[in-house]
Amino acid sequence: MSAIAALLAPLQPLAVLRPWPRYEVDAATWEAIGRALGAGDGALMALWAEPGTVHLAVRAADLRNPAVVSLAAANNAFPSIGQYHPPALRPERAIRDLTGLTPIGIPDDRPWLDHGAWDAAAPLAPPSLTLPRERGRDGRGQSARDPADYAFLPVHGHGLHQIPVGPVHAGIIEPGHFRFTANGETVARLEQRLGYVHKGIESLLIGVGFDHAGRVVARASGDETVALSIAYARAVEAALGIDVPLRAHVLRGVMAELERIANHVGDVGAICNDAAFALLHAHCGLIRERVLAACDAAFGHRLMMDRVVPGGVTHDLTNDARELLFAMLDDALARFADVVRVYDETPSLQDRTCLTGIVSNELVTQWAAGGFVGRGSGRAFDARRDLAYVPYFGMDFAVPTFAAGDVNARVWVRIREVEESARLLRHWLWSTAEGPLRAEVPAIDAVREGVAVAEAFRGDVFVWVRLAAGRVERAHVRDASVFQWPLLEAAIEGNIVADFPLCNKSFNCSYSGHDQ
């Protein structure tokens, strides 16, 4: 039995959370779980906090379901998981910035999301703990820090120089800061500093109606809005015991796979563009545009925002729209096959993508990195299969996995996934079940909690909600990027600075999804 399963076995789960068990543990068990994670005994799925309590979600091979583990933070502190298991470090730094709870023993106590620009430190803490900047204690939370003021880790060595990049980058991309330490052309070390687009999403999910909360979650990262809405809707549905009509499930699947195709195609083009191969970028841009135009025609929104809601979906698929999607798929897939052929037959392009930005299987396993980052380095995890949900449940589809861990492997994962998504889409478009689009959302006064994972194009997104009296009391959204960003620091090591855009695009982590 895994150490984590052994630790949880004697405990009685709380009934409040569905569909996974949730356990309240003492500090010793919490720390033991941290040690077990550090020893590679399971995968950390999420780590978050609310005033007075820290939670983590964990998977282990011999646990039937993932589990949520909660610890009451005595004296507003808790034993750091990060001291044993590095993937927990950034989430713990975020917890301290937001809620003021102190991870005891954390080896990195620099702030993360708090750049010194908010009116008060620990904005999610109860009023007695929030520190207005003027009254800030112990140097933390002092007013008007220059946002550029951050203690980057020291790098020592002969002939090293630093290149600061961002937060405003040269392209049309999101803001974040990269500090390169290079030796000539070769990157010796990259350190990221994120948090620039932190919008306080958790604070906007306190005491609001289901629909409004859904609109906020859908905008945690716009490029994967459908997947985020699916995770949120499923968490609410689990909490309230809602049975979603089959037609709604299938339409959710249709939208999710359209979103995956649009993003994969667009990013394959953008990666080629970063290798100065503009021709494929133009073709991929055209394909992506056709996909989005079809999404618009079918569901009334190019990115299909706010179409998935608790209980079902808002838009039906007409027969005309179904025909249009079929035609679009035929056309898009044929065009994409041309693109793939050129990619595969152009050595000068592969010279840039092969053996560039390698991440090891050990790292993606330790970080439990989802999506093409994990699957490009041999971690065969896909929430659609491994935490299966309707309409994927029982469906036959491949989870393409490559071992090389380089930019090229991540490109191939995406190429193969486009083909698999098209197969799923054709199947569902043929067979769309008839029936209602949306089940009633019952009015339940009691406190209920729900949790769900959905597979976005970039990896698994996790949503936890606590509901009471028809409102969201509290929620947490964890984007796949949280466990992918740190691996980009490893991927670029030993590569040349000029290959960074290529590596970065092959990861395509979400800044907004991470910063929230």
Binding site: L113, H115, A117, W118, D119, A120, P123, D146, P147, A148, P167, V168, A170, G171, I172, I173, E174, P175, G195, Y196, V197, H198, K199, G200, I201, S203, L204, H212, R215, V216, R219, A220, S221, G222, D223, T225, G266, L279, A282, H283, G285, L286, R288, E289, L292, R302, L303, M305, D338, V339, R341, V342, E345, T346, S510, Y511, S512, D515
Partner: protein, 173 residues
Amino acid sequence: MRTLLLKSLFSGPATTAAPGLGADALEELGRTLQARAGKLFGRSLSIREVDAGSCNGCELEIHALNNPVYDVERFGLRFVASPRHADVLLVTGPVTRNMRVALERTYAAAPEPKWVVAVGDCGCGCGVFEGSYAVIGGVDKVLPVDLHIPGCPPRPAALLQGLITLLDRVATR
């Protein structure tokens, strides 16, 4: 590769027809530009996009402006890498507190004459992020805005129309 090149060569252009000038944009620019002395020399605009806190949905649609369907460059609109080269700052997102200084510095780095276009419901107001401790609000809370292009996110066609209308108003004739 040769097949793809030949196909591309012989298939017709994928571009959409040019949109006309936008009525709303004309009206707003009539107001905002009155007080401004600056005129652009020539008929092109260099645009620097700044994400000041967006969810990245607006970026996806701004990106689409560069694809072969919208192809902004045919109108003399060009995205540039540095604010030093920019005539226009195209700003998305509710401005987060953590991005405020970077946005102000980007604006300061752009040479006069310069114009600011706020993009998306978030850039125009604050969108769904209204009321958070971490956001300041729409772009006009931080910079003088000449044109608002609302939408969540605005369609590429709306972005294109807004930018073309701006170009029409500020260019010397």
